[in-house]
Symmetry: C2
Subunit: 477 residues, 2 copies
């Protein structure tokens, strides 16, 4: 039997048990290991079944205790719809997103924001501000000439070493020489794309995708080919295969397999392996955008696409900003067989990063304070994500759809027919409630009735009331 | 009489007096003000005459005391030759400099460097390391969340304000809103070029020019049109006019009018005005690269090209690195009528710079410590430049040519016929003496017998002996 039918069968078994009340709220699921025995399936199939039920809000994971049946939601909400992966792909288009983004940013700046559901990072208080400040002061005291001596071209070795060691946890063997430090993940994406594509070239991207990526494509004069992407399992490999067959000349694929922005979906390992193999077979470079990959609810690290790369065809771009320090503009890129060219482009574009921020980050990454911070951050955003999702389920009008991701801080909300996201965004802004309309996440208008709601900030009763108000504004239209 | 004949006449008057011994070494020149009276010329003509004699090594400027007759050099050296500005321009070419630069960098990294005449900044000890460190720690203590809160998109207002105030000294009125902070001048040049040119387009540049600019052009797929540039007065306006007439489709002009890298030349004010007017008339954006402009021997600030810009056609790109802090990757761009587009490109390329470095720089720029630092730096590099130039005059073989710039830290040395710069660079490296061969400063081979020698490091007896050795290696070939 196909692996995905197997996990569906296991999931259906417990889904009925929970829905019928046979397994009441609070009851412990059999452990993943027992599931393998009970259902004669592999560990990964058992885990996939549990995660699916978790996505559907039927189970919740408790660290080191396993899965438990969740109390029913106050209001049930339909999960996000799957895209039609067999539809003919949209034609590749030059991106024209900049004006929409500017208008969005301008609106956000003109009005005071009391409830920020628009951010892509968590609130400053969640991050290790004190520890980083102390590390920065230590670095300055230890190296008094740091601000006046020239910087090292590829980035500080201490940081590249710390990154290489942390990457091992995700099953990735990189030497510090294969890592170039960049000004955030966005610069990594810029140099990766510049290394593989010229203006006018076509790049396959997820649909919906992070508007920052669309802006990069626009600024580089590249054309975006939007590939249907599942809110649960990410970029559709079938749809990408179809695109390769029908649209010649795709120069790169950009995918964000783990807690994708805006969907929050995670690509299953089997799909990651298929995606890496497919791009390799087609000799099309695969650019991996890993921004939220560290922020899963689970302790088990997700394996990046790059871990399946045996030929150097995957260019891995990583943000350290969302996980560790929104105020440090640090990211990195590992360019596989194109690394030398990427390093040259980074050097020609902005030279090396300053040493101070890098050495501060290296101190922190190398310490156990990092592990404690990440564990705390995961718990907190999981809690916030669940509370926000519950408020949406409770207060948004019937017809709203939402799947709860297993990590990250973003929720992708499909509004009921007739409710436009841009109008809702503007209505919300009048009450100081900032969200991001789906209009920004595609060059098409396919997501004009979606809203991205970020859960980076502490959820209070007032937050829930703000979401109630927002839900009301949605009905009113 | 034409202004340039007038200053020649005044200069010739004192040149004869000095050469004949009528004005012995150490004698004070009449003040610039008295010269205007004595010769019935304008202040700027009088100043131009003095500067010309200074360039020729006959006079030296002493801060707040005026010009004095210099002791004769141990060996006389011919001034740098003027280019033929009426020669037909080279055809515009795609740049292929990267491999040469890589080979140069690799050689420099493989061997230990005892005497670094290759740097583009001064030695760390000359910069205000302690003051910047203290400022950084103050900033961190005052804003404990600085490293964990998001950064402001256009750069920190405090820094943009400090820059705008300092720019006033150079006769430039900019509001902080017209300034975008970048990762060094190199990023400013990248976004400026991307705002005005597409791959394949032609950009006029000085010849010779900074190899970093050539790398940027290469990485962006632009074609360079090298315009003859005088080692004394900079980019030839005549040659540029000729280029405009004979080569249609020039999309931008990049010029570094003050202490150009590698020539060290300064464009006279009249030429600056003509250049700005010419580019405006042709509707071709003029990109100004100001890296060393603050490092003149003189207290009088040089007026940037942007000060003549009345229509927004000049894009000003400035480095703060060489003047204040080699370890902070800070520069800025003011894009005139293209500023909004440049800001968008900077945002899409690397987002805003980190706040810590910016606020540290803002504290320092806003204090009088900055003025004291710049005055000290100017004195020191002037002294170093003169000693290095004297050692070259004394020890390099006959036929070597060199004009002494009035600021900056670079000397552009023409080697005698038969002495190749690359061979000399390699020979020097075997003794730990790093220089930069002229091969890197053009896409042609016109400067293969030139050497750029930087004077950023303290000159000791050993430094002079290193130059003596280098001069000997040159003869030996």
């Amino acid at each position: 039997m196909e692996a995905d039918l197997l996990y569906q069968r296991v999931a259906q078994h417990y889904r009925s048990a929970i829905r019928s009340g046979l397994m009441p709220a609070g009851e412990r699921m059999p452990s993943v290991r027992s599931l393998t025995r009970l259902h004669q399936v592999s560990l990964s199939t058992a885990l996939q079944a549990c995660r699916r039920l978790e996505d559907e809000g039927l189970l919740e994971a408790r660290p080191r205790s396993g899965y438990f049946v969740r109390p029913p939601r106050r209001t049930s909400i339909a999960p996000a719809a799957e895209p039609d992966v067999r539809r003919a792909p949209d034609p590749a288009q030059f991106v024209g997103i900049h004006d929409r983004v500017s208008a969005f940013v301008a609106t956000g700046e003109l009005q005071p924001v009391s409830f920020d559901f628009g951010a892509t990072y968590a609130e400053p208080g969640i991050y290790p501000g004190e520890a980083l400040k102390a590390a920065a002061i230590r670095v300055l005291r230890r190296q008094p000439e740091l601000l006046v001596r020239p910087v090292s071209p590829a980035g500080e070795l201490a940081l590249r070493t710390a990154i290489a060691r942390r990457a091992l946890d995700g099953g990735l063997h990189l030497s510090p020489d294969e890592i170039t430090i960049t000004h955030g993940c966005i610069e990594a994406l810029n140099v990766a794309l510049r290394a593989v594509a010229q203006p006018g070239d076509v790049v396959a991207v997820e649909s919906p995708t992070y508007f920052g990526l669309l802006q990069v494509l626009e600024s580089l004069g590249l054309r975006a080919l939007e590939i249907p992407t599942s809110p649960h399992t990410g970029l559709s490999i079938e749809a990408l295969e179809l695109a390769f067959e029908t649209q010649p000349g795709i120069k790169a694929v950009v995918a964000s397999p783990d807690f994708q922005n805006p969907l929050g979906c995670v690509m299953p390992d089997a799909d990651k392996a298929r995606l890496v193999a497919l791009c390799e077979r087609r000799r099309v470079p695969l650019i991996e955008d890993d921004t939220y990959g560290m922020l899963g609810d689970d302790d088990t690290p997700l394996k990046p696409l790059k871990a399946w790369d045996t030929t150097g065809n995957v260019i891995r771009c990583v943000s350290l900003r969302k996980t560790v320090a929104p105020g440090l503009r640090l990211g990195w890129v590992s360019g596989g067989r194109l690394h030398a060219r990427i390093q040259m482009l980074k050097y020609a574009q902005s030279r090396a990063n300053e040493a101070l921020g890098q050495l501060t980050m290296a101190e922190f990454l190398g310490s156990s304070a990092y592990d404690r911070h990440v564990a705390r951050l995961r718990r907190q955003i999981k809690h916030q994500r669940e509370r926000v999702a519950e408020a949406i389920a409770a207060w948004f009008p019937p017809g709203t759809r939402l799947s709860l991701p297993r990590g990250g801080m973003l929720l992708w909300v499909e509004l009921p027919p007739g409710c436009g996201a841009h109008a809702l965004f503007e209505a919300g802004m009048r009450y100081g409630i900032r969200t991001v309309p789906g209009t920004l996440f595609s060059n098409t208008h396919r997501y004009d009735h979606f809203l991205r709601i970020s859960c980076g900030y502490t959820v209070t009763h007032e937050t829930e009331q703000a979401l109630r108000l927002l839900g009301g504004l949605c009905t009113a239209k």
